[in-house]
């Protein structure tokens, strides 16, 4: 048996790629999201590789890297996010996965991307990295704020205990932080395309030690308006019309997720946005959650709003070209300012 890895052609081998994904990652509608995710990304089309056994057309695994512009300190860099990593059950002996993981390093070694990163959600996803001697650079934690107890009580006690739900919901309402409003800041729902003011906001916020995804208008329009699988709501905070910050929310099955919170004066304006999103979600959502890198400066903001850390949701593992500037940047205490926005592929 001979296993080898080769680049996949997104046009002529689209069907093969979708077939491998459908079988091995069945929880996503790959058909529906393919063109959007693999081709329409404003940062460039995905690069994909197949693991094959013996012949080119016997495909036993696939991995893709989705280009992503990232702020690395004060510089904008082309990077790649590894995703849709799928290996046939019969071939999960680590060898094929190692070959595919190494393939994702090639564009980095060739200088096309400053680095690539993967966000394995569980231990099994770390196995190839452990074999390669790589450790996680950071981890993502889930923070949650319970808003209602209806569903919890219904699942435990049945439908005849609605008075208990009312009591529970009232207690939760008392428990959360009091509303935070800033006199001269207006919080509003944002509808329609993201304009150039969002790009300007992105460029105005630089931290020489941080790594975060770029948030250009083009990226936001693609990510949040054109996503064929998810719908998002956006709240903006403005002073005299000037965009200060925004929050992106995704609601699914009673769970609201703050996908992103970004902007200026974040310790005050961010608190105001969180307060607004709690008010928005309380009537209909059971829980409000967000995902933050362990070194995120937003952690304090959420914990002050009574969110509590629940679990580690993913690790961040980055590959850089050995002895490169990027590699030195990571070694010298880089801060991963990641939210769900950087992790969702």
């Amino acid at each position: 048996m001979s296993i080898f890895v080769r680049p996949a052609d997104l046009s002529s081998e689209r069907r093969d790629l979708l077939d491998v994904l459908k079988v091995n990652l069945p929880f996503l509608d790959h058909e529906k999201r393919f063109d959007w995710l693999y081709r329409a990304n404003p940062d460039g089309p995905a690069r994909s590789w197949f693991a094959c056994q013996d012949t080119r057309d016997r495909i036993v695994g696939v991995v893709s890297v989705f280009p992503r512009s990232m702020w690395v300190g004060r510089d904008l860099k082309n990077c790649g996010q590894v995703g849709d990593f799928a290996t046939a059950v019969s071939h999960r002996s680590l060898g094929p996965s190692l070959l595919m993981q190494r393939a994702t390093f090639e564009p980095v070694n060739a200088g096309i991307w400053a680095f690539c990163y993967d966000c394995p959600p569980h231990d099994a996803g770390m196995s190839t990295f452990r074999r390669l001697g790589m450790e996680a650079n950071s981890s993502m934690a889930r923070y949650a704020l319970p808003l209602r107890v209806d569903r919890l009580l219904e699942s435990r006690l049945g439908r005849n205990w609605s008075f208990l739900s009312a009591v529970g919901n009232f207690i939760l309402k008392l428990y959360v932080a009091p509303p935070t409003r800033i006199q001269d800041v207006e919080i509003k729902q944002h509808t329609g395309p993201f304009g150039e003011e969002f790009s300007a906001l992105d460029e105005s916020i630089k931290d020489e030690h941080a790594i975060r995804g770029a948030r250009s208008a083009a990226h936001l329009n693609w990510r949040y308006l054109q996503d064929p699988l998810q719908q998002y709501e956006v709240l903006t905070a403005r002073r005299d019309g000037e965009l200060l910050a925004y929050l992106v929310l995704c609601i699914a099955d009673g769970t609201a997720t703050v996908v992103d919170l970004f902007g200026k004066e974040i310790s005050t304006v961010g608190a105001s946005l969180i307060s607004a999103v709690v008010r928005r979600c309380r009537p209909s959502c059971q829980i409000l959650q967000t995902f933050l890198a362990e070194s995120s400066e937003l952690t304090t903001l959420y914990t002050e709003a009574h969110f509590r850390q629940r679990s580690i949701s993913a690790r961040i593992v980055a590959y850089t070209k050995p002895d490169s500037d990027m590699s030195a940047f990571l070694r010298n205490g880089a801060r991963w300012a990641f939210a769900q926005a950087e992790v969702r592929a």
Partner: protein
């Protein structure tokens, strides 16, 4: 009384000890470990560590191919090829 344990027995004991699905379903020497979901990539990593420690061999990346990890029989054959022996005396 000294007891000779075969490589298969040692591997089976390790797999039963480490992997809950193997304990639940039981595992025979010819059972497909990967396809039955008894081993995943993390399990392979643990198994490789065990094999390297127990038999004093190094498993290269190229040897992490599905054929070698398909079943206890296949694993034992792989170890025997690497070590040039079939049985391991135990104390």
């Amino acid at each position: 009384m000294s007891q000779v344990r075969t490589t298969n027995t040692q591997l089976r004991e390790f797999i039963l000890q480490k992997f809950p699905l193997a304990r639940k379903r039981g595992v025979k020497d010819g059972d497909l470990l990967l396809e039955n979901g008894i081993l995943d990539s993390m399990g392979v990593l643990e198994l490789v560590h065990f094999i390297e420690q127990e038999y004093g061999i190094l498993v290269s990346d190229e040897e992490l191919e599905p054929d070698n990890f398909q079943s206890i029989d296949k694993l034992a054959a792989f170890i025997q090829t690497k070590t040039g022996r079939g049985e391991q005396p135990s104390v």
